[in-house]
Symmetry: C2
C-alpha cells in the first residue's frame, strides 16, 4: 500500500474506475444488456406507470413499498419540508442574475444546512429525516431562485400538492395542466437513481470522511454541474432546435456522422440497447408536443433517433435518457439552464439513499496516484536560480 520511490513495475492505472466495484449495493440495478433499470428490485417501467415520485423516493430510501399510511406520512413530510425560511430567500436574492441556476442550488443547499439542528447528528434516524428535508426543499429552492431571477414574486409551496405539480406551480405561478404534472412526475421517477454515477460517487467519497449529509449533497451537486454528467440533455435539445425542421433531420445526422461528429443523447457506458427511460419519455414527449402544437420538434427528434439507430445500432448505440428529457422539459416550458437543477431535484433521492447505505459499513475512500515525477530535486536559493 505504500507508494514507492523506486519504479519497479508500473501498476495498473484505473483511470475513470470503469471496471472497479466500489461497494455492494441493493439500491439500483442497471441491466445494460436487457435494457432494464430496477430500483430496489422494482422495474422503473412499473413505477413510471403506477407510482409517484414520492412513493419512488420511499422505495429508494426504505427498500420496500409503503403502506397507504406510510405513504401519506412520507408525502406529508416532503410537503412540510418544502417551505424555506426568509433568510434563505434573502440569500437567493443576493445571487447575481447571471449566476447559473445549478450554482445557485449548490450555494443554497450549502447555506440551508446552517438551519438544521440535526445537521451534525450522524445517527441513521437523523439522516433519514435530513434526507426528507433535502428532498422537500430542492424544488422550492430551484423554483424560488428562478422567480427571483425573472424579477417575479416567489410562490410559496402548497403542501396539499405533489412535488412535481407543486414545482411547476411555484415556477410558473399557475396550476399546471394534468399532463404536464404527470410528465414531470414521471421524469423525476426516471432520474431518481442510476447506481454509482459520478455525482453519487462524489457524495460517497465525501460521506466516507463522515462529513454530514448536507456536505455530501453539496459535493454531488458540484459534480452534477459538469457537461459530461448533468449537461447532456441541454446539448441534445440544442441539436434538435438547430435542425428545426423534420425535413432537415436525416441529412443533418448523416452529415454529422460522415464528419465523425457527435450526436448528443446517444450511447451509454452501461446500456448496450434501448435505455428504458428514453422509451418512456419519448411517449410523453409525443403527447406533450401534440398538446402544445409543437409536433415539428418531436418529429425532428424521431427522425434523428431513427437515423442514428439505423446507422449505429450495430455498434450498440441507441438513444439514452438525455435525448428525450431535454425535449420533454422544453415542451413543459422550462428554461434550458434549469434542466440540471431539475435533475438534482430528482437525483437527491438516490444520492441520499447511497450515502445512508454507505454509512452502514463506512470505509474512508483514499485511493493512490502513481507518482511519475522527479524524486531528488535540489532546492536552489532564489539568487542562484537561472
Amino acid at each position: 500500500m505504500t507508494e514507492k520511490t523506486t519504479v519497479e513495475s508500473k501498476p495498473k492505472i484505473d483511470k475513470g474506475l470503469d471496471d472497479v466495484y466500489v461497494k455492494e449495493s441493493s439500491i439500483c440495478l442497471v441491466d445494460g444488456v436487457r435494457g432494464r433499470l430496477l430500483y430496489r428490485g422494482w422495474d422503473i417501467r412499473d413505477l413510471a406507470e403506477h407510482s409517484s415520485f414520492e412513493e419512488t423516493v420511499y422505495i429508494l430510501i426504505h427498500g420496500r413499498l409503503p403502506t397507504r399510511a406510510e405513504l401519506a406520512e412520507a408525502k406529508q413530510a416532503f410537503a412540510e419540508n418544502r417551505a424555506i425560511g426568509p433568510e434563505v430567500v434573502k440569500l437567493l436574492r443576493c445571487m447575481p442574475k447571471d449566476a447559473p441556476p445549478i450554482d445557485v442550488l449548490r450555494t443554497a443547499v450549502s447555506y440551508v444546512s446552517n438551519f438544521d439542528k440535526e445537521r451534525d447528528d450522524p445517527t441513521r434516524g437523523a439522516n433519514m429525516r435530513k434526507a426528507q428535508r433535502l428532498i422537500g426543499k430542492f424544488p422550492t429552492l430551484v423554483a424560488t431562485a428562478q422567480r427571483i431571477r425573472e424579477g417575479k414574486r416567489p410562490v410559496a409551496p402548497d403542501p396539499s400538492r405533489g412535488i412535481a405539480e407543486d414545482f411547476l406551480r411555484m415556477l410558473t405561478g399557475k396550476k399546471p395542466d394534468r399532463l404536464s404534472a404527470k410528465v414531470l412526475d414521471v421524469a423525476l421517477i426516471l432520474h431518481a437513481d442510476h447506481s454509482m454515477n459520478a455525482s453519487a460517487f462524489a457524495a460517497t467519497v465525501a460521506a466516507s470522511t463522515l462529513a454530514d449529509l448536507y456536505s455530501t449533497m453539496v459535493a454531488a451537486i458540484a459534480t452534477l454541474k459538469g457537461p459530461l454528467h448533468g449537461g447532456a440533455n441541454e446539448a441534445a435539445l440544442k441539436t434538435m432546435l438547430a435542425i428545426g425542421k423534420p425535413e432537415n433531420a436525416e441529412s443533418y445526422v448523416l452529415n454529422t456522422l460522415r464528419n465523425h461528429g457527435k450526436i448528443f443523447g446517444f450511447g451509454h457506458r452501461v446500456y448496450k440497447t434501448w435505455d428504458p427511460r428514453a422509451l418512456i419519455l419519448r411517449d410523453y414527449a409525443r403527447q406533450l408536443s401534440e398538446l402544445r402544437g409543437q409536433q415539428d420538434l418531436f418529429h425532428v427528434a424521431e427522425i434523428v433517433q431513427d437515423t442514428v439507430v439505423r446507422e449505429l445500432s450495430a455498434k450498440q448505440i441507441y438513444p439514452n435518457v438525455d435525448f428525450y428529457s431535454g425535449l420533454t422539459y422544453h415542451l413543459l416550458g422550462i428554461p434550458t439552464d434549469l434542466f440540471t437543477p431539475i435533475f438534482a431535484i430528482s437525483r437527491v433521492s438516490g444520492w441520499t439513499a447511497h450515502v445512508i447505505e454507505y454509512w452502514e459499513d463506512n470505509r474512508l475512500v483514499r485511493p493512490l496516484d502513481y507518482y511519475v515525477g522527479p524524486t531528488d530535486n535540489v532546492y536552489v536559493p532564489i539568487d542562484q536560480r537561472a
Copy 2:
C-alpha cells in the same frame, strides 16, 4: 463493463480504493517507508526551512522553482486576489453565529464563484488564474467570517504582507510576532498537498464531469469537513488538553492502550515511520510553547508521543502531522473549529494542482457498484398491500 443480473462470480470489491491507482501524477510523492514527502520532487524539509507558502504553491502548480521575478509576480497575484467584495461580506454576515466555520467557507466559496467572469472558461490559462484567486481569497474568507462571528469589525487584507502573516493579522486585528507568522507559514507549506487523499479525490471526481474549478473546490471542502479527514488534529488537541498535566500523560496513554482505546494523531495508511511533517511541527510547537509560557502542554504532547512510540513502534505506529498541528494552532491562539478551515487555506493549492493536472487528460470517473438486491419485485397496487 455492463452490470449483470445473474450473479455468476462475485467480483472484487475495492471499498475504500486502498490499493487502486486512479491516475498518474507528478505532483506529490508520499514515501511512507523512508518518511519523506516530496512536492514536485522537492523535499518538504527543504521547503519548510528555506521557502515560503507562496513559493511552495508556485512549485506545486507550475512544477518548478520560480525566478525572483516570477515569485514576485505570483505573490502580487495572491495579494491582489485576497480582497473580497462587499456582497461576499454581506453573505458572511447572513451566516448564523453557530454555523461551523468549515460550512461557512464551503458556502462562501460556492457563492464567490458567481463573481468570477472566467468561472466557466475551461482553458488552462483561465484555470491557473482561478487557482490564484481561490488561493488568495481563502484566508480572507476564513478570517472575515471569524471576525463577524466574534462581533468584531472585519480587517481588510494588506497586500504588502505574506499569506500566513496577513491571515493572522486579519484574524486577530494585530500584527503577529515573527515566530507566529513563520510557524503558520511552515504549517501551510506542510499541508499544501498529500497526493490522492479523500478531498483531492472528491475534487477530481467533480472535475472529471468538466464541472468548473470552483465546483471542484466546493466538493473538496465538503469532503475535508469529515472528522476522518480534516478533524483529526482537533481530536488530538482535545486529548492533550484533557490530560492537562505532564505527570498524567504516561498513565493516560497506557490506560487507553490497555482498554484498546484510540490515541488520536498516531498511525497513517501510508507512513510506516515518522511522518516528516510531525517532526518539523514538533520543533516549532516547542518554540511557541516557550514563547507563550505553555510548556506544560508541550510536555504532555512529548510524553504522549514517547509513550506511544515506545509501546507501538513495533507496529509501525508513529505520530502523524495531526498530532502536532492541532497543538501548534492552539499555541498560535487559533480557535479549535478553525483548524479545518486553515487546512483548506493550505490544501486548496494541492487541490487546484491535482484538478488542473487531471484535466490535461480527462476521463469521467464512473465506477460500478455490485448489486446484491432483489431483481424481480412485483409492483402491488397500494390497496392490496399488507
